[in-house]
């Protein structure tokens, strides 16, 4: 062990092995070293890369490490784009070629779980946001960096919304995919939203299917893979740099993406017809009758009220509705929110007066 910290040292060994063609390895310990090992923390940190099992004897404990098939870490690395040129208001990129420490954490292995492979490949095949970004008159031009990777943006100082974003310096395939996706998502977002949820948006955009989660509990960028600390660090540095450059005193975040122009321009009848057609198609694809679920109203541009035929098992309704919502968001309008008709209070004593007329009660 070269590192005084046993856990970090073992993580380094496994991380190095994950970049090779090795499929499994055994790591032997002395008893005192094994006693210092933070096994659960190691398992959590390396979950996307490897499964770890304790083997050996009490006197001579070992770890059996099975490496998972995954997105290559540094193989296939591209030539790094040129370093950014300093511009007004820029935070200078750090000279350290290793990933910087973030929130006191150690440098991170850059592996991604299999759930992200497909989108990483897609991002790598369509890189449109690498390279330089010219300052635009009337917009604040900023560059921030995390290690070698830099993020360049133009921000509208009135609305605090990001107008354009580019990346430079990403070397590994994962880094490139992460910052390419980040730069694709940033335009239109207020700088506060970028800092608050930019990494979350990147994680979700890179996961092929929402229901295919890399952790058993609640997915967050940091627990999905330590690699997501890159967009997290960049976006947080961005809002700090923006604050420094402009005196921005935000924090309050009320960003709510507007419906598309097309959807706003579509009238009620056409909206319902489009939704009915897409829903009917989806029902058939999922083995239901075409009118098992059908739209009855669209409220406030985004909330679609559906009625549920008695046919589908109501216990399955929850998962069906989640799936249907995702389908309609991708096929019809990204901001749609799906609800059923309201059920009225059955308590005879209570009376609800002066209820709005648009609630679409079912009974």
């Amino acid at each position: 062990m070269h590192d005084e910290n046993v856990t970090r040292s073992v993580a380094g060994i496994i991380d190095a092995a994950s970049t090779s063609s090795i499929e499994a390895l055994n790591i032997a310990f002395s008893q005192p070293s094994f006693a210092e090992l933070q096994l659960e923390a190691l398992r959590q940190a390396l979950a996307p890369v490897a499964t770890i099992e304790v083997v050996g004897t009490h006197e001579r404990p070992s770890l059996r490490v099975e490496l998972k098939a995954q997105v290559a870490v540094d193989s296939g690395a591209q030539e790094p784009p040129p370093r950014p040129q300093p511009v007004h208001g820029e935070s200078r990129p750090a000279a350290n070629p290793r990933p910087e420490k973030t929130d006191g954490q150690e440098p991170i292995p850059q592996a991604l779980a299999p759930q992200y492979v497909e989108a990483v490949e897609a991002a790598l095949h369509s890189i449109k946001h690498g390279g330089e970004l010219s300052p635009t008159i009337g917009q604040v031009h900023l560059a921030v960096a995390e290690g070698e990777v830099s993020l360049h943006v133009n921000i509208d100082a009135q609305s605090h919304a990001i107008c354009a974003a580019r990346h430079q310096g990403a070397r590994s395939r994962n880094e490139i995919a992460l910052v390419e996706t980040l730069c694709r998502l940033l335009p239109g977002l207020p700088v506060q939203e970028a800092a608050d949820h930019g990494a979350l948006r990147v994680e979700r955009a890179l996961r092929a299917r929402a229901e295919d989660r890399p952790v058993p509990g609640v997915v967050m960028p940091e627990n999905a893979s330590l690699a997501f600390r890159l967009p997290l660090a960049l976006t947080r540095k961005l809002v700090s740099a923006y604050t420094e450059a402009t005196g921005y005193s935000g924090h309050a975040n009320h960003f709510d993406p507007a419906p598309s122009k097309r959807w706003r321009a579509t009238d009620r009848a056409d909206r319902l017809a489009e939704l009915a057609e897409a829903t009917g198609r989806w029902c058939v694809e999922h083995g239901l009758s075409s009118d098992a679920v059908y739209p009855v109203e669209v409220l406030d541009d985004h909330r679609v009220i559906f009625a549920l035929d008695e046919g589908p098992d109501r216990r399955r309704a929850q998962s069906l509705l989640m799936k249907l919502e995702r389908s309609l968001q991708s096929q019809v309008e990204g901001t749609l929110e799906l609800c059923l008709q309201e059920m009225r209070d059955r308590n005879k004593l209570r009376q609800l007066e002066a209820r709005p007329s648009n609630r679409n009660d079912s009974r």
Partner: protein, 373 residues
């Protein structure tokens, strides 16, 4: 000994989530954590008709929670690591035939049990059965005068004196038996009922519960209960006068942080439900009471009348819903009603997720009612 030996440790206008750093860190690692607190009801029914009652908006497919079901549920809660169960939610649990059994069984199993009630059926005999097993009991009491009580809470005037007597009896029982239970009264304040703030604060001083808490009224995202949050500021002077009626054994506590929030939220993702979920009196398991109505079916995880809670908790459906609430798809500012039960927990966790709260450091000694975050 009383349940309120140190009033500064009773957190009613905040969250105790910071005392659960281990569970927060497990959640952040992507582990499946058990809720610390479950708020639930044993029935959807109620013998009152308060005009501000959110339960009017929470109807869903009703099932009957039997003794067997609730006993299984309590066993499962202990097994997975739940700490406290409050019987509040969307029905009057004291009128359920399994109310006393539930409180006693939960207490025997080591769970902290609590109850929010209108107090009408909690006569001395019933109170003797449950008070020793409760961490707190809170009586919803939103007026200080019989006629206004009847008007606001949808009952006959005679109910006012009956509940007052029940509170007197409970306070006497607590003192005589030296019980740890905290007895409270609660006013759900609608701005146009502000005339009752001082009469109620004075009534509380006479009845001698440990506290009177005055809170905002929640409303749904469409404003169905027509709560006018812009009018709460007109009540501030009366609320401060009510606070001044506090003495060493009776506190008037105003939930200032929620009242002043005026129904707004600083956060968009909802991170609280894995730590604090709600069950309807129908047995429905949902992340939040505001999502009980059949309208929000996509958030409905299961029903303890049909499936064991431990299986619901460990199901993909449970975690799919929790993930949805924490995803960019969900926006609590737009999709939720105002000032939900998880609001303060959400505020804390959102600050943590945004990197503004890097260290989880609870201040001061462990507060009372720690199982209710």
């Amino acid at each position: 000994m009383t349940g309120m030996t140190d009033h500064t440790q009773l957190i009613l206008d905040g969250t105790k989530i910071a005392w659960y750093a281990d569970r927060i860190e497990a959640w952040e690692r992507g582990e499946r954590i058990a809720p610390i607190t479950i708020d639930m009801a044993l029935t959807r029914a109620c013998n009152y008709a308060c005009h501000f009652c959110y339960a009017m908006l929470q109807e869903n497919d009703r099932h009957k929670i039997t003794r067997e079901i609730i006993y299984d549920f309590l066993d499962d809660c202990v097994e997975i690591g739940v700490k406290g169960i409050s019987l509040v939610s969307d029905g009057e649990s004291t009128i359920s035939p399994v109310f006393v059994d539930t409180v006693q069984r939960g207490h025997e199993l080591g769970l902290s049990m609590a109850c929010g009630t209108n107090g009408f059926v909690l006569t001395r005999r019933k109170a003797e059965s449950v008070l020793p097993c409760l961490t707190y009991l809170r009586v919803n009491f939103s007026a200080g005068e019989p006629s206004r009580y009847a008007e606001i809470m949808g009952v006959k005037e005679g109910a006012f004196e009956r509940v007052c007597q029940n509170i007197r009896d409970m306070v006497e029982l607590k003192r005589r038996l030296r019980l740890d239970v905290t007895i409270g009264m609660q006013m759900v304040l609608m701005p146009n009922d502000a005339d009752q703030i001082l009469p109620l604060a004075r009534l509380g001083k006479e009845l001698r519960p440990d506290y009177l808490v005055i809170k905002h009224c929640s409303d749904d995202e469409e404003g169905s209960l027509q709560v006018d949050y812009s009018q709460y500021h007109r009540t501030y002077d009366l609320l401060r006068q009510a606070e001044e009626l506090s003495d060493s054994d009776y506190k008037v506590i105003v939930k200032w942080s929620k009242i002043k929030a005026a129904g707004t939220r600083s956060y968009q993702r909802c991170y609280g439900p894995p730590f604090m979920i709600q069950l309807s009196g129908s047995g429905l398991v949902a992340p939040c009471g505001m999502l009980f109505n059949e309208r929000y079916k996509k958030f409905h995880i299961g029903n303890i009348c049909e499936q064991r809670f431990r299986d619901i908790w460990s199901s993909d459906r449970y975690w799919e819903v929790m993930n949805y609430l924490a995803s960019p798809t969900f926006n609590a500012q737009k999709m939720c009603g105002s000032l939900c039960l998880q609001h303060k927990v959400n505020e804390f966790l959102d600050e943590r997720r945004k990197g503004r709260l890097s260290v989880i450091e609870p201040r001061g000694p462990v507060p009372q009612h720690i199982a209710f975050v």
